[in-house]
Symmetry: C2
Subunit: 687 residues, 2 copies
């Protein structure tokens, strides 16, 4: 063996190759192979884990698993992803319900503004409604182009960042993120209002009821997009059927000349208004009415954002759903507007009764149909909160993939849902609800602004896209989107000006804050990538010299013995170090050490000030000064007690040492745990 | 080299000896030696760390150090311990102040009980006072024997557990621990009362003032016992001097026949009492008066508990201090009692004015001496809280050394104080103060019970001791202590019966709870010792086979490369494992891996349910099933970002994996950190 000496470049640090060559074989599969158990199936060059192996053991684990299954259902494998997707029928219910539900109040919103100039101004209602449907048509057309161009979802954010640049994209993203949070908060509040008007005793618990509602939505969405669909299909289609029936019946009566008398609200608007309908003031009022009615356009972006959750062919299905949604909304909206005009229904100034209710009451009185219409409307408005739960996690996952949000948002949970985003949305919107103590109506303008900001950016982005691509027919596409951008931009400006006093100014504060947060996150990930990325894959994994191993030793016991054993097994250069507070104790320790573990060299440090961690840190410093390149590994013996409270009985010196070493370069800390049970094994073997 | 093959008993696991023999040398000091820096001095076979090396670096660390120095003073080395000790002068102030301060109210306490039988019953005052002084004499004598027999402190706990058994010892300890907490709470409340009667505006902030007071006491004590002495010597000696002067002046006037008229309190007791002073009732009343006056005996255990903090010769100094304390208390107590009798002072039924104040007022009126007496009394009563701060940490350290309390209580801080006990006492007594909202008078009986329980147990213990040792004169010693045990036991029973309704029953609940807590802690430490202790020191440190090293790999980057490098440096048996969620990603990873780190074998796990941690755990299970004895080391690559919030941007998979592996036997987890700055070093080297 002596002819080995001095051959290697550093004799005390034989390389891996050297060591394994000596052992006569290459390291690898041959001698470290897993036991083929029922947990794994071998498939080609890999192991596939079965669902059984994921089930926790022990009573607590099993109870947790049972609760998890009850709440969220069984785990879904990656292969189940296809079957989890939405068809047109469920897609309309899940992604279209927000927009369709707007038809219940869009007419009234426009009329309330016109009524400021007296009920005579209602002659402008039909033109405004037609204009809104026109804008919706433009939006639907442009969204269908978004679906074709960007089938991976992300909607306005993707369109804007792809065509206008990162910053406009992030502004659109921030606006939409805020929107989704507000959709949940506002719709939940609406749902709670509906519940508490049925059960007045619950009124003092409005916030709590809202939190329960959000929790139910969260669990429904964590169960996966399809199961959430089942929750929504009912109310959506009942609403469409009942309101459709009502409109058909109404039109039949109007056409047959059997127009019923208009039901009178508790506090109708008068014939004279406060604002004269002349000159610029008049034009502005009509524009404001248009802007208010445009609330009916909100929610129409959900389908373009959610294309990847549609069944194949995703683009076709999404487009069909989008068109069906647009037609459904327009039909109901125009139908209700026509009937309101024909019957001469005047909205209630005090907002006690909705226009919808007045209209239904005029036509059918307090019949079962009235209750079906009202009930399904209330339910649908509340469930519009779900749009937030489909939109937010998906947009967040797109942002996370682009490294603008934490990576956790891009992971799919056990039910294939973006669990992290769902939970985050529930938490944030619950916080908004608690913060506003359940009264969120003032947040609505904020929300409209977000929607139209995103629309404007996305339409502008599409204009740029057509001009760049110059594909056949790009002129009319660009023209259409330009018109769309102008119209939605105009609505945005009108809402901003009209609602400036009502909190819309918050947008100016919150959107920049969110955008800079997204940018900060991005900067971090990019820095990390710069730091970690390996430019060339054929750069070899660096060979590291065996580390110098230091074992801080407090006393001589089994835990220390195990730590020393481990240290000796990983490196030939092992040193123990003991901190003593007095000369006598240092001397005594040396004697016992030499007797017990004399093979391992021991350094003694006398610390007359009784501190433990700083002397060890200085010791490591001093060791490293000698050979700064060589890695240092600190091996700590730690006793793992039975239960958490027993931790408190041990001084946390090891913990403090670890914390101090965490940020130290070229230093690795290894905890060698000694379990209480180990000693039994040990003793079992000895006796 | 080929002749090496197959020689070792397990060729892939060369032992330390083998490896170092190959390297031609023994492991040890020779090639791993610390850089002799200014931080360490070499002294014999050890390094001594200087105080400079303990100073933190960086602006935050230096600011912290400056604040620490300002609050607690410079670190004290072990050698300074001697100079930190107390002489008789400071010892009396620190350890005797609680007892001496009792002389301010003991007379009044006894008189208030007697007054229930009318002021005629005051004739029994002098015999009762003499009896109390007699009991004190017995207590002082027995304490002086405790000092001789148990010079390491611990007082009643040590005496009782040494002579009566563990359980009586722990009962005494629990009683004393409670007492110390209550001493702090009660005295603080008294101090706050004194402050707020001067500054009534502070009254609504009583609790806050109390917390500030406790914080000051805590800091004073953390500065060390000597510096705390400086705080206390003033008030104690001013009180002794002023009250002594008053008594001398009073006696002079009584002897010269110039007896002043007694000052009349706002609400004096009348000549007729509610309780007739006849038969058993009368005897009981006198006994109760005696019990109430015995409050003057509280605090007398402090010196015997604190012997180790006295200067050498500790026993002599402690005994002298004890005797001086007894004489001082008795003189003042008897003097005040005599004057109260001679002048005919009647205590105030409404407790608005103290007897002490009435007496001083009768003799000297509202002169400066009056204010000095009153002021120093108030200050001394408040500072009696400090007895808790000297007693509790010391008793806790004795209990910790006996493994009945967490080991942290036995450590001495940088100023040689038992920092942990001081902080714990401050926290608990502050909690009591907050819980009682600053009104703690109802806790006083509880407190007296604790003191007399400890006294009784300790005196009984001494009786057993003398009977066992039978040293010369044991009969009279045993007789004396038997008398002491009977008297203190009687007082205990009287207080228990008399105060049962006032919360004394709590003792019955709290003491057993504390005792069982102490026993549980002891059980844990004993189990741990059983588990860890090495029976024979010549049992060799076990040689451990090189571990199987597993590296869970998420992606190929510098952090992973470093982890692989480390793993290869510590063992020839390294395996990487990657969890993929789909077949394609698994295949892609395999291709890149083979290209990049093909030397290290890779196992692929396909996890169609997207979970990461459970498949890794099952994988480790399966590996271990193959070779259950072989240790497994899991090496994790972790990126250490700049700031804490950046942590949130990384999924905590590694953390969850570590938590799951913590309680797994035969498994060691190593975190290989990759620091943001490392990449700069790296890039710096490359370019």
């Amino acid at each position: 063996m002596s002819d080995d000496e001095g051959k290697g470049e550093s004799p005390e640090t034989p390389s891996l190759e050297e060591r394994t060559r000596k052992a006569g074989r290459l390291p690898g599969d041959r001698y470290v192979r897993i036991h083929q158990s029922s947990d794994f199936r071998r498939r080609g060059d890999r192991y596939v884990i079965g669902e059984d192996a994921l089930r926790p053991e022990g009573p607590v684990g099993r109870a947790y698993e049972a609760v998890r299954r009850f709440l969220f259902g069984p785990r879904l494998s990656m292969e189940a992803e296809e079957s989890e997707r939405l068809g047109v029928f469920t897609g309309l219910a899940i992604l279209g319900s927000d927009n369709i539900s707007s038809s219940a109040y869009a007419t009234e919103e426009a009329m309330r503004v016109l009524a400021l100039a007296g009920i005579g101004a209602f002659v402008f209602l039909t033109p405004i409604a037609i204009a809104i449907v026109g804008v919706l048509a433009i939006v639907v057309l442009s969204q269908s182009q978004v679906i074709q161009a960007y089938p991976n979802g992300g909607g306005s954010y993707v369109v804007a960042s792809d065509n206008l640049g990162v910053l406009p994209g992030l502004v659109a993203a921030a606006a939409l993120l805020i929107d989704y949070v507000l959709t949940v908060a506002v719709s939940t509040a609406a749902g709670v209002q509906a519940v508490t008007s049925f059960v007045p005793n619950l009124h003092p618990y409005s916030v709590e009821v809202g939190l329960v509602f959000i929790a139910i939505l969260m669990i429904g969405n964590l169960r996966g997009v399809r199961e959430a669909g089942v929750m929504f299909a009912g109310p959506t289609y009942v609403y469409i059927a009942a309101v459709g029936l009502l409109i058909l019946y109404g039109i039949f009566r109007v056409l047959t000349g059997d127009v019923p008398p208009a039901a009178v609200p508790p506090d109708p608007f008068g014939p004279e208004g406060e604002v004269p309908l002349v000159g610029l003031t008049g034009v502005l009022l009509i524009l404001r009415a248009f802007a208010s009615g445009s609330v009916g356009l909100t929610g129409s972006e959900a389908i373009a954002n959610g294309v990847p959750s549609m069944q194949k062919d995703e683009r076709r299905n999404a487009t069909v759903t989008l068109v069906v949604m647009g037609v459904t909304f327009s039909t109901i909206f125009l139908g209700l507007t026509f009937l309101a005009q024909a019957i001469g229904t005047i909205p209630d100034r005090s907002e006690t009764e909705t226009l919808n209710s007045l209209l239904t009451r005029s036509l059918v009185g307090y019949t079962p149909l009235y209750y079906v219409v009202q009930g399904s409307t209330a339910l649908l408005l509340a469930l519009a909160a779900n749009t937030g739960f489909t939109g937010f996690p998906r947009l967040a996952s797109v942002l996370a993939n682009d490294r603008f949000m934490p990576r956790q948002f891009a992971y799919r949970g056990e039910r294939l849902a973006f669990s992290f985003g769902i939970v985050a949305l529930a938490v944030v919107s619950a916080a908004v609800l608690v913060w506003r103590e359940g009264s969120v109506t003032e947040l609505i303008p904020f929300y409209t602004i977000g929607v139209f900001l995103a629309f404007t950016l996305s339409q502008t982005g599409l204009v740029r896209r057509w001009r760049r691509l110059r594909s056949p027919g790009w002129q009319w596409r660009a023209g259409l989107n330009l018109l769309g951008a102008l119209v939605t931009g105009l609505v945005l400006v009108i809402v901003l000006v009209a609602k400036a006093g009502e909190g819309a100014w918050l947008v100016v504060l919150v959107i920049p804050v969110i955008v800079s947060l997204l940018l900060a996150i991005h900067r971090h990930y990019m820095q990390m990538q710069d730091a970690l990325v390996i430019e060339r894959l054929d750069e070899e994994v660096p060979a590291v010299r065996p580390p110098v191993v230091i074992i801080p030793v407090g006393r001589l016991d089994r835990a220390t013995a195990r730590a020393i054993g481990f240290a000796r097994s990983i490196s030939p250069a092992v040193k123990a170090v003991h901190v003593a507070t007095s000369e006598e104790s240092a001397r005594e320790f040396r004697t016992r050490w030499d007797h017990w573990a004399g093979k391992v060299p021991l350094d003694l440090i006398e610390s007359p000030y009784r501190s433990l961690v700083p002397p060890l840190l200085r010791y490591i410093d001093a060791l490293q000064e000698k050979d700064p390149e060589r890695p240092i590994t600190v091996v700590l013996a730690s006793f793992v007690p039975h239960s958490w409270w027993e931790w408190l009985l041990h001084s946390q010196t090891a913990l403090r040492l670890k914390a101090s070493l965490l940020f130290r370069p070229n230093t690795i800390v290894v905890d060698v745990p000694y379990h209480y049970d180990d000693s039994h094994d040990h003793q079992g073997k000895r006796h």
